[in-house]
Amino acid sequence: MNKHLKVTLLGATAIAAGSGSGLVQAEQSVSLHQMQYKEDDQRIKVADTALALKLDFGVDYSLDLSIGYDSVSGASPSWAIAEPEDATVEDWQDRKIKLLKTQKETDQTLLGYINNIDRYFTQRYPLTDTRKSFNAALTIRDKYRNELALGVSYSREMDYQSNGLSAAYLLFLDQSKNRSINFGFAYLDDKTQIVYNSIEQTSFLEDQLITEFGDNVIPRKKEKIQSLALELGFTQVISPSMTFDVTLFGTKDSGYLSNHYLRIIRHFDGNDNNIAETDEFFLAADSRPDDRTSYGTKLSLATQPWSWLTGQFSYRFYSDDWGVNSHTFANSLSFEVIDGLFITPEFIWYQQTNADFYRSQNSDLYYFANSGYGSNDVRLGNFNAQTYGLAISYQLTKQWQVDLAANRYEQSNQFAATWLVAGINYKF
C-alpha cells in the first residue's frame, strides 16, 4: 500500500514543517479548501476537503489543527483472467491443481492460473474508498525564539489505518536570526488489510493455500508498515528580500510495501526447457521488498526583486535502494497585480528512473520469473512529468481571502490528470 504510506507520511511531516519553519503568519486563521481531482481516461476521481485552524496563545505557543475528508472513486487497471465461456468443471479442477502445485515452488503469492497466456488481460477494477484524517501540532518558542514543534496525526481508510508522531526543532544561530538549523523526524505506525477481492477463485485458492501449505506460502492478511523520516535543514537569509534553504532528508520504510490492488504475470518453466510456453504463466501478487531506504536533498531559493514579483525556485534530488532516482525542478512566480491580488503561475518538471524490479505492462517482456520481486506499477517506472499550475489568491478584506487554483499534470507514459482547488480563509 505504497499510496497510503506516502499520504500519511505527508500528513505527519507537513504539519510539523508548517509550524516549525518560523515563517508562519502571526494571525490566527481558519481555512476551508476543497480539491476536485480527475484523471484522464475516466480512471480515478477524488474529492478532498481540508479544514484547518491556527491558534496563537501569546507569542510562545501556537496550535495548528486540521481535519480532512477525501473520497476516491473510479477504476484502477490490473491483470485479470478472461474466463472461457465453455469451461467445464474438469477444466476448473485442473487449473486449481496446477496452481496449488506451482505455489509450492515459490515464495511469491500466486492468485490464479489459466492454461492460455492470451487469456490474461488488463481489467479496470472498481475502486471506492474514503479517508478521514486529523493532524495537530503544537509549537513552543523559548526565550531565544527557537521553536519546538510536536505533532500527531491519524488517518483511517477502509483498509488502512495510520498513526503518526512528529517533532521538529528550529534553532537560530545568530542574533539577527539570519541563519538557522532545523531538524526533525516523523514516525508512522500503520496497518493495512489486504483483500484480493476482485477474483472469486483467488479468494478460494488463497484459503486453500493457507490450509494445505501452511508456511510455504505468504498469505498476507493484515500487515504493518513502519516509517521513519528524518530531515535536517539549513536556512540562510541572503538579503532583505532573499532566502536560501538546503535540506537533507532520509526515510526508512519497513513492512508491507507492495500494492495489493495490483497483479503481475509470472512464468514457471515447468518442463525446464527454457522456453516460455503459453500454459506456463500465472497470475501473481505485486511483490516489492519489505524495506526501503531513501535519501535526498532539496535546495530552495525565495526572492522578491520587486514588491510586486516574488519567485520561488527549488531543486530536489532523491535516491533509494530500490533503484529509483529522481530530479525535481519547481518554479513559481507570484505577481501582485493589485493590492491583495496574487496571480501565481507555476511549472514543475520531474524525472525519475525505474525501480530495479519494475517492468512496463506494455513492453514485450512484461512478465516475471517464478521468484523475486516484480511490479508493473507505472509509478515505479521510468518517466518524466510536467505540472502546469495557475493560482489566484485575493484578499477581499483584512480578514477574508479566497484561493483558486487549476493544475494540469502530464506524464510521459500517457498518464494525465487535472485538479481544481477552491478555498476560503478567515484571519482573526
Binding site: V7, L9, L10, A12, T13, A14, A17, G20, L23, V24, H33, Y37, A50, D142, Y144, N146, A168, L171, L173, D174, S176, K177, S180, N182, A229, L230, E231, G233, T235, Q236, V237, S239, P240, S241, T243, D245, L248, F249, T251, K298, Q304, S307, T310, Y318, D320, V324, S334, E336, R379, L380, A385, G389, A391, S393, D403, A405, N407, Q411, F415, N425
Partner: protein, 230 residues
Amino acid sequence: MNKVLMLVSSLMSLSILSQASVFAASIELELTQAKPAKKIVKRFSTKGRSGEAAGSITTTETASTEPSTVPSTTISTSTSTITSTTAKAPPSKPAIATKVNAGTVVKPLLTKSTLNTPSVSPLAPFAPLTALNTTTPSISTISPLGAFAPLNADTDTVSPIGRWLNKGFGWINSTLGVKEVKPWQKATLAEPVMAGGVAPTLAKFATKVFISKEATLGGNGVAGGGCGCK
C-alpha cells in the same frame, strides 16, 4: 582796462571752477550715501517712582555694508543727553542712533545690555574642518534602540548551542559576501508570499498528488528554514 578784463576773466574762471567743485562734491555725496538714513520717531510717556518722563525717541538707521562695532543710542531730554555704547554688535545689524527728546526724568533704556548679544564673534578665525566619517557604524557600536540595547546581544538572543554551531558557518558571510540583515529589514521576508506562499494549502494538495503518482517523496516536511520573522 586789460587789468580790469583780466580780473573779470579770473573771477569768471574761479566761479566756473567753484561750481564744478560743488558738482563734484555732490556726486561724491550721492556715492557715499547711496541709501539715505531712516529716521524713526517714537513718542513715549511713562510714570515711575522717580517721576514722569515724556519725550520722543528718534532712531536713525544707517544702512551700511561695514559692520558697526559701536552702535550708539542718544537719549535727549530737556536736561541732559546720555549716550550708551554697547561693546559689541553683530555686523549685519544697521547702525542705530536713537535720540530721546523732551521729558523730565532720565531713565536709560539700554545700558550695557547683553540681550541678543552673540556669544561667539562671527569674525573669529575659522576652525579647521574635521574629516567626515562616511563609514557605516557596526552593529556592535550603534543600535536603533540606543541605550536600551546591549552592545553585544549574542548571549541574550542566541542559545549557547546556537552560538557554538554558528562558529562553523562564519565562512558564509565572508566567502559569499552575505551582509547581515537586521531584524527591522525583514518586512519583505515576513510577507506570506515569501514565507510559504499566499495559500500554502494549495501546495499541500499538489504534494499529495505527486506522492500518490510518483515513487519519491521527501524534502517538503519536517526540515525547513526560519528567517526570524516572528
